[in-house]
């Protein structure tokens, strides 16, 4: 990448915060700039960082929940309700966890209640 994803994310959030009325125009130009710089491959990472920054700026947390088995829409909705509306909750399925749930907060703190962890702890 020509510029690091962090720099794009910071530039975007700062400009949107400074000129909220020009939001649509800024988004359009931002995407054009990323494409022009040849950094389109990193757009996913840039988007994740923008989401993270926006969530943190609004006082929320990034929650990533990994379940061992697929959940119904209702169960996912019920799970998301447990958190503050400011939080950004992402749910994913990881069969290697065998059973249970693993919750990661802001990429730093983790609550691991999976069977895979218990088995590993028993083995090693």
């Amino acid at each position: 990448m020509k510029y690091p994803a962090e720099a794009y994310a910071r530039a975007f959030t700062e400009s949107v915060t400074a000129h909220p009325s020009k939001k649509d125009h800024l988004i359009k130009n931002f995407l054009l700039a990323v494409k022009k710089n040849g950094d389109w491959t990193g757009i996913g990472k840039i988007f994740a960082l923008i989401t993270e920054k926006a969530t943190h700026d609004s006082g929320g947390q990034m929650i990533s929940a990994e379940f061992a088995r697929p959940l119904s829409e209702k169960m996912i909705a019920d799970f998301k309700k447990q958190f503050s509306p400011k939080d950004c909750v992402e749910v994913s399925i990881k069969p290697e966890l065998v059973a249970g749930i693993r919750v990661l907060i802001d990429g730093e703190k983790e609550l691991d209640m999976t069977l895979a962890k218990k088995i590993n702890k028993l083995l090693f």
Partner: protein
């Protein structure tokens, strides 16, 4: 089978697992043994991290602490690490389990045995966080440690005899000194270090000097070469007092980088317990290369010859840990023999000049001398020992002063050797004496001489006893003479010389022994 099932049941029943938040990091990038980790903002520099991969837990070391991430070097094969792997802190900095159990063993820089002789310590040890509980039989020593301060040290006072006549006489090494062995490839650098290790066995016998524990650190060497060295140590029974730290060329750069520090930690264990240790870093050129590789992969800015800016500090902090401790600190010592390989004799390259300036002297080996048959190929003019002469024994001092002078005069006249017939008699004699001394100082590798033998041999040469012997016969004469005095003059010559004692009586005994041997040779 029933017992196993019962045990398993008991384990499961007694298993407790509290659900609690843990501080973790996530691997965001990985490649070439380097991992970039997000999170873990409280990690310490040089802290051990555990990377949880699909195939088990892999250790890593926090190397770069950046604003939003950590650059870590993965210890071992990094194939199992993938993006998204969880990383946990251990709260411990990199350390190695040390103890007397390491003697006679070949280990990797993480303390894992490489010689197939089984586990080293009774309980699960090493630096892994899992190995902490209940570990016994060994002491954890950090790989990175502050060198002893000025107040903790004292001057070098006892010698480390290498068993090589030219070194022990002209470039003496003291216990606690750092003496660089430098030279091109295939000039006998490792051979000098190995002879020194072999010589420690005979040097401790009957001399009153303490046995020197040896540590040989192989960095980036061929596996076959390391195997050959280990075999040689075993055959000569030198492995009993030696530890080999092996990070061969096939091992990851991270392990090659850590190997000298691991060896140093082992050396410090022996030094702290009041013993004398000798460590050979073979070689620091390859160590610098491995550090350059890691630094460039971690995107640290490159400097001269693409080495990172702190390459001098890397070697300085390693070699500063060699010391002679004061009596109040146990009186132990750690002598370092770093090896540097030069390219086409260029000692002014970056790493050689760095290490020359850090060490207390250097033994300079020359390809030309090596091919002329002067082995060890030591260039006595460019080699120097800055502190070792203070540690020389009285006997060696007595003979070495004149030897150094005679060889220096010979070097000045060496250019005129081919015109010898046109020179005056005095110059011719000086050249002849120089050639004779060069001949006496020649030694095969793997045959270190006891210090008493070295003194006797040099004494005979500098006092003109060998002047009437043809150059081609000197080696044989020297060998037979040393056999003669070791058998016939054990108490009156060998014993005092082994202890480093020198007085008129010893000198007289030595003179008469040489004369009687010469007479005996004439008769036969």
């Amino acid at each position: 089978m029933k017992e196993i099932i019962e045990k398993l049941k008991r384990d499961i029943v007694g298993f407790e697992d509290k659900a609690e938040f843990a501080e973790i990091g996530i691997v965001t990038e990985v490649g070439d043994g380097i991992a970039k980790i997000s999170g873990l903002r409280n990690a310490l520099s040089q802290e051990i991290l555990s990377v949880e991969t699909a195939s088990g837990v892999l250790p890593a070391v926090a190397f770069n602490l950046e604003e939003n991430s950590i650059g870590a070097i993965i210890l071992g094969e990094a194939h199992g690490v993938s993006v998204g792997n969880r990383v946990k802190k251990s709260g411990k900095i990199l350390s190695l389990k040390t103890g007397d159990e390491l003697l006679g063993r070949v280990i990797d820089p993480l303390g894992e045995p490489q010689d197939g002789k089984g586990v080293i310590f009774s309980a699960k040890g090493g630096f892994l966080p899992t190995g902490q509980a209940g570990a016994s039989g060994g002491k954890d020593y950090p790989l990175e440690r502050k060198a002893p301060s000025v107040l903790d040290r004292e001057s070098v006072s006892a010698p480390v005899h290498t068993g090589i006549k030219s070194i022990d006489a002209m470039i003496p090494i003291g216990r606690g000194q750092r003496e660089l062995i430098i030279g091109d490839r295939q000039t006998g650098k490792t051979a000098i270090a190995l002879d020194t290790i072999l010589n420690q066995k005979q040097d401790a016998l009957g001399s009153g000097r303490k046995q020197v524990i040896c540590i040989y650190v192989a960095v980036g060497q061929k596996n076959s070469k390391i195997a050959k060295i280990v075999r040689m140590l075993e055959e000569n029974e030198a492995i009993k007092y030696t530890v080999v730290v092996s990070a061969p060329a096939s091992s990851p750069a991270s392990l090659q980088f850590l190997a000298p520090f691991a060896g140093c930690a082992i050396g410090e264990y022996f030094m702290d317990s009041g013993r004398d240790a000798l460590i050979v870093y073979d070689d620091l050129s390859k160590h610098a290369d491995s550090y350059r590789q890691l630094s460039l992969l971690l995107r640290r800015p490159p400097g001269r010859e693409a080495y990172p800016g702190d390459i001098f500090y890397l070697h300085a902090r390693l070699l500063e840990r060699a010391a002679k401790l004061s009596k109040t600190n146990g009186g132990g010592s750690l002598t370092a023999l770093p090896i540097i390989e030069t390219k086409l004799g260029d000692v002014s390259a970056y790493i050689p000049t760095n290490v020359i300036s850090i060490t207390d002297g250097q033994i300079y080996l020359e390809s030309n001398l090596f091919y002329q048959g002067v082995r060890p190929a030591i260039n006595a003019g460019l080699s120097v020992s800055r502190v070792g002469s203070a540690a020389q024994t009285k006997a060696m001092k007595k003979v070495s002063g004149k030897l150094r002078l005679e060889l220096a005069q010979f070097r000045e006249l060496q250019a005129f050797v081919q015109f010898a017939s046109d020179l005056d008699e005095n110059t011719r004699n000086q050249i002849k004496r120089g050639e004779l001394l060069t001949e006496v100082l020649k030694q095969s590798d793997g045959e270190p001489a006891a210090v008493a033998m070295e003194v006797a041999s040099i004494f005979a040469a500098i006092n003109g006893f060998l002047d009437d012997i043809p150059k081609k016969d000197i080696k044989t004469f020297d060998k037979e003479f040393l056999e003669f005095i070791s058998k016939m003059h054990q108490t009156d010559i060998i014993e005092p010389l082994s202890k480093g004692e020198w007085n008129e009586k010893t000198e007289e005994n030595l003179r008469s022994a040489i004369q009687s041997f010469k007479n005996m040779k004439k008769i036969s």
